[in-house]
């Protein structure tokens, strides 16, 4: 490591030779030293050994500042290119991307603007593992893919509304979340209720049900909070007999012939070898698919 003012004074030969022997090592070592050379020139190289890792710098054309070109890791014997991270404009980002040797894939925007389209990017292969933060604005479009075991995708401080969340019908990940296997599509229950139809008629639990109407013995109407998209539905019902004495009866459900998207009428029936009719049930369950 050495530095020299790169000026050979008018002097005798021994001193002249000694001056040259000081200047050449300075040139050969890129003026390395813990402080900048005493005399500086435009475009001059300097290895700043005061920093760890050492920094390779080049004097700017105006000869009034140093430009850091990269870092020299003397322990690992590696060199890393210094990338301007705070610049703006596609040219800066493209130059930085090219300097890092990033591979442009199909999902990478062609003209990334540092600080605008990309807030922070840390890559496992380049900068070590960590978060990847992508700043997007309403109206931005594109794919965001999170891969790798244990990786999570978080939308920070943002309520994901229907307008911002697009899921394809029959999406396989939705099936996985619902423990559904195979390729058959899944359909959701749109309303359900469990109620006691005897004594003080009362609803035990429900979903999308505003009320039940007790029309009479074994005759109930389930009213939906939000109407269904169609009056033609598939209904699953179950009733339990109202007394142990009726254990031999067959119970079933029955609805009126009038279909409605806002309500469903159900009747609890008993049938045995002696009689049949409507009867209250202490446990009526109903689920509607639509």
């Amino acid at each position: 490591m050495s530095q020299h003012d790169m000026s050979i004074a008018n002097q005798g030969f021994p001193a002249f030779r000694a001056d040259l022997n000081d200047a050449f090592p300075a040139l050969a070592s890129n003026n390395s030293g813990a402080t900048e050379p005493s005399t500086m020139f435009a475009h001059q190289w300097w290895v700043d050994t005061s920093a760890t890792p050492n920094l390779l710098k080049q004097r700017n054309a105006d000869n009034n500042a140093w430009i850091t070109v990269g870092s020299l890791d003397q322990a690992a014997d590696t060199f890393k290119v210094e990338v301007a991270q705070g610049g703006t404009g596609s040219a800066t980002a493209l130059a930085a991307r090219a300097a890092l040797g990033l591979v442009i894939g199909t999902n990478v925007q062609a003209n990334l603007v540092s600080g605008t389209n990309i807030k922070t990017v840390n890559s496992t292969s380049l900068l070590g593992s960590g978060d990847i933060v992508v700043g997007l604005s309403d109206g931005d479009k594109g794919d965001i893919t999170v891969s790798g075991s244990g990786a999570t995708f978080t939308i920070d401080n943002t309520v994901v509304t229907d307008a911002k969340l697009n899921l394809s019908a029959n999406a396989s990940n939705i099936k996985t979340a619902l423990n559904a296997t195979g390729s058959a599509p899944i359909y959701a229950c749109r309303a359900w209720v469990n109620f006691n139809g005897t004594g003080t008629v009362a609803i035990r639990a429900s979903g999308n049900v505003s009320s039940i109407t007790d029309n009479g013995a074994g005759n109930y109407t389930v009213n939906f909070t939000t109407a269904l998209s169609s009056s033609y539905t598939a209904v699953v019902t179950l009733q339990r007999e109202n007394t142990s004495a009726n254990f031999a009866n067959v119970y079933g459900s029955y609805h009126t012939d009038t279909f409605s998207s806002s309500a469903f009428q159900i009747r609890s029936m008993f049938i045995n070898n002696a009689a049949s009719g409507y009867t209250d049930s202490p446990n009526v369950s109903l689920a509607i698919f639509n």
Binding site: T200, A217, N223
Partner: protein, 60 residues
């Protein structure tokens, strides 16, 4: 607990049992009582629990 009662088309009594759905009893009445039918909101204690002759109930 409240119930909504109204006279059905056969002269009997229909009793609406509200669900815990976020609507008020008045909102449920406006939505689930057939249009044009007068109704009353009563306490659940006013509804008989003996349903032996349920189909013979009348409004008084």
């Amino acid at each position: 607990m409240k119930r909504i009662i109204y006279q059905d088309d056969e002269g009997g009594v229909a009793i609406i049992v509200p669900a815990d759905c976020g609507l008020t009893i008045e909102e449920i009445a406006a939505k689930d009582v057939p249009a044009g039918k007068p109704y009353s909101i009563v306490d659940v204690a006013d509804i008989p629990t003996d349903r032996t002759f349920r189909n013979a109930w009348e409004m008084t």
